[in-house]
Structures are given as C-alpha cells and as structure tokens.
C-alpha cells in the first residue's frame, strides 16, 4: 500500500510529498529503538513518540519508509531534513500510539 493512503486530517505531513508513492507493509510500534532494530521488518511503518535523528537513522538502516510520530512530539528541522535525505516520510499526529494503530486498522490500512 502507498504512504499517501495513510493521509487524513489527523496526520500532518512534515516531509517531501515526492515519497508519498513509496509503499509499506504492516507496522511496528515501539518507543525503544533497540526493540525496532530487533523486531521491525522491512517496509514496516514505525509508530513512535521518539522524534529524533536517531529515529531516522534506525528507519534508514531497517528500510522503514514511514514514521508516524505520535502525541505531537516535537520534530526538529534537522530530523525532517535527514528524513528527506533518506527518502523517509514523517507524519505527525496528536493521537496516541494505540489510537494510530486502531485508526489504521479501522481504515483497512493494516490488518
């Protein structure tokens, strides 16, 4: 499924529109990046409150095309630039992690 299918008024796109046609498969939620390194699978959406350049570094290493930053965590300009550099999309939302998962599930984006 394409990243653009996730877009809704609940999500704010912070990165370049160019990568919205990139695809993903499934999701992984954690606020421990080591846990993501251990268990996230290629093409997963990463759902987290950790908004830091390290999040991008981990996503780039694991080939995760989309990061959803929950609870409106502050995302720095440096993080956005680094995401664009690695062709990774960041969506920011006021929702909590479990609400994002429920939202994606209800809309048929994850199963």
């Amino acid at each position: 499924m394409m990243i653009k299918n996730v877009l809704s008024p609940k999500y704010q796109l912070l990165t370049d529109k160019t990568y919205l046609t990139n695809t993903f498969m499934g999701c992984y939620q954690t606020d421990l990046l080591s846990q993501a390194i251990k268990s996230a699978e290629e093409k997963n959406i990463l759902i987290t409150i950790i908004a830091h350049q390290t999040t991008i570094a981990v996503a780039a290493l694991l080939d995760l095309p989309l990061i959803i930053i929950c609870e409106s965590s502050h995302v720095s300009l440096e993080m956005i630039e680094k995401a664009n550099e690695h062709h990774i999309t960041i969506l920011k939302t006021p929702m909590k992690s479990y609400e994002v998962i429920l939202d994606l599930f209800k809309r048929g984006i994850i199963s």
């Binding site: 421990l32 990046l33 080591s34 846990q35 251990k38 350049q53 390290t54 570094a57 780039a60």
Partner: protein, 138 residues
C-alpha cells in the same frame, strides 16, 4: 578485501549512525543478502550507539574478505563495570537523555550477540574493544 575506519564522537546523537549507514551502503552495493545486511547493520548500529552513549569516544573498523565480515569497536573508556549484567537484557546505565532519544533500554549488547555469529568483548577502565564477526556462506 575491504577495510574501512570510522570515528565515533561521544554524546553526539546527531551523527550517530554514520558508520553503520556507510557499512550498509557498502554491503548493498556488493549485493549481499538482505538478511545478512540487516544482521550486520543491527549489530553495527547498536555498537555505534553504545559508543556514543557510554564512552568518551572511539572508532570502528570494518573488514570484509571472502570468508567473513568483522566489525571492531574501540573506545577510550570508562569500560563496562559488570559484563554479565551488561549482557542481561533490560540492564542499562544510560541517562534520561539517552532514554529521550529512544535508547538505553539495556538491549544493545544482547542485540549484538543475537545478530552476530561471534562476539568478543574486552573491557577495562581504559576502554572497551568489541569484535563482532559474521561468517559468510560459501
């Protein structure tokens, strides 16, 4: 045979991952299997982040030949006080800042051990030296 070396700066989260990214690019360019690349990158990134978080700074080396990939991480201390504890999942001496950046959950060394074929750790107050090996299938 390929050999590379990378500097790792203590407490600099913004640059953390540079070495691992370059190692990934190298392995992707050489068309290694994705599963191996993931294992190498996982171990490399955890070791790199450990050096950033816990040490006074250090460096990493990457070595590749027909039989194996060897990652080595050297730092200038202060060393791992209790290696058995450090190898226990969940044990960490990380700070609040490390936690805010998504690390310090006490999974670094266990993740490195799980991802690699061989892990050797030498540590004293003068520094820590990690040798991480991945054997290539012939």
């Amino acid at each position: 045979m390929i050999q590379k070396e990378y500097q790792i700066i203590a407490k600099n989260y913004d640059l953390a991952g540079r070495a691992s990214s370059d190692i990934k690019r190298t392995l992707v360019a050489l068309d290694f299997p994705k599963s191996l690349i993931k294992r190498v990158c996982a171990a490399s990134y955890e070791a790199e982040i450990n050096t950033v978080i816990h040490s006074f700074g250090g460096y990493a080396t990457f070595f590749l030949d027909d039989e194996k990939i060897v990652l080595e991480f050297y730092d200038d201390g202060p060393g791992i006080h209790d290696l058995d504890l450090a190898m226990t999942e969940g044990y960490s001496t990380a700070t609040e800042l490390d936690h805010k950046n998504g690390f310090g959950a006490g999974m670094g060394l266990p993740n490195i051990k799980r991802s690699s074929d061989h892990l050797e750790i030498h540590s004293s107050i003068d520094g820590t030296h990690l040798i991480i090996i991945f054997f290539l299938e012939s």
